[in-house]
Amino acid sequence: MARPVFRKVKAEEEHRLVHLDRDRSLVEAALRDPAAFDALYRKYLAQVYSYAYYELGNHHDAEDAAERTFLLALGALGRFDERARPADGEGASTFKVWLFRIARNVVANIRRGRRRSPSAPLEVAAGVADPLDIEGDVSARHEAGAAWAAVGRLPAERRRALVLRFVEEMSTAEIAGVLGRSEGAVRVLIHRGLRAVARDLGGRRW
């Protein structure tokens, strides 16, 4: 289980930092030779792309966001500061959280730039419906579209928290690192977001 990664560290604790990032070897390789960044890119492309897709609602913008995110990450890799500690557990990846912070900024930047309501419900719904399920296709799209539309209507931080939790399957601690909030605040964001979506969908069973 990943633990918080971007927390404040007291000065006297600095010398006791132990690097446990599960991506540490990949990051070190990329720092020695930028061409080795390809491994990190292949590992996280689908996650970053998917996050951007749910946030922006169409493939074109998601591709744009993924491209900017990885190019920025490659350029700034020298400034990546690993903060994992023994208490953070074995699966912690400060790199993943750092990458998603970049993605969050890039996506927010694109959303600010276009200043229009996202076309998310339709295209996202089309993307998540199973293409082989002919009979269930229409209703699946309709259900997924309604669910995503409800999530899309949430305030930005709640929406992001739900997407990171459900789509990216991030832990509360990782989401806290990405959003720059405490774990408690993230739990409340998710709880309120979920309640708002439940209200929006009428609490119907499906």
Binding site: P34, A35, Q47, Y53, H59, G75, P155, L201
Partner: protein
């Protein structure tokens, strides 16, 4: 129930929801449907969580896009390797051209380019920051209108001074005479 317990209730429920989500996401990973059963959790919340877990699935980019971006990153990596090879710079340069919208993109200040992981205002916060400007503008315009109304009222209510009346009369006569001439 004590006051403290009531105050903590939302956080306790948020913790329950968190545990429940953990269990359904774990069940999804294992390909099973069995999730934690917590009768204290609201039925509507449970069904919504299950629905989102089933329907918000990861979306993959096209193979073509993946390879195109991989090539672009490889080119950028090569460009970064060259200056390092000749000892031009010990730190990695940013391989982003303005076409990618980093340095010149609206909303990306120099600090974000230096540290792209530094959190920026999100769209809600940006709207919130814009609000005082709008409110300030409206208040200023209202204040100007009010000041104008007060001035007119003051002028109307103030009795004319004899000297001022004489000056206005003299000016009026001069204009009249020059008009006649």
């Amino acid at each position: 129930m004590t006051l403290d317990a009531r105050n903590d209730e939302p956080e306790i429920e948020a913790l329950r929801v968190d545990r429940y989500l953990e269990s359904i996401l774990l069940a999804r990973d294992r390909g099973s449907l069995a999730a934690l059963h917590d009768p204290r959790l609201d039925v509507g919340l449970r069904s919504t969580a299950e629905r989102l877990s089933a329907q918000l699935v990861r979306v993959h980019p096209s193979f073509r896009f993946e390879e195109r971006l991989a090539l672009r990153l490889a080119e950028a990596a090569e460009a970064m390797r060259l200056p390092a090879a000749v000892g031009a710079s010990s730190s990695l340069p940013t391989p982003i051209s303005p076409a990618f919208g980093s340095r010149n993109a609206p909303g990306f200040g120099q600090s974000q380019v230096d540290d792209p992981a530094m959190l920026t205002d999100d769209e809600d916060e940006a709207a919130f920051h814009a609000r005082p400007l709008l409110i300030g503008g409206a208040l200023t315009s209202a204040a100007i209108s009010l000041a104008g109304a007060v001035l007119v009222a003051w002028r109307l209510s103030r009795p004319a001074q004899p000297m001022a009346r004489a000056i206005r009369a003299a000016h009026g006569r001069a204009r009249h005479e020059s008009g006649l001439a």
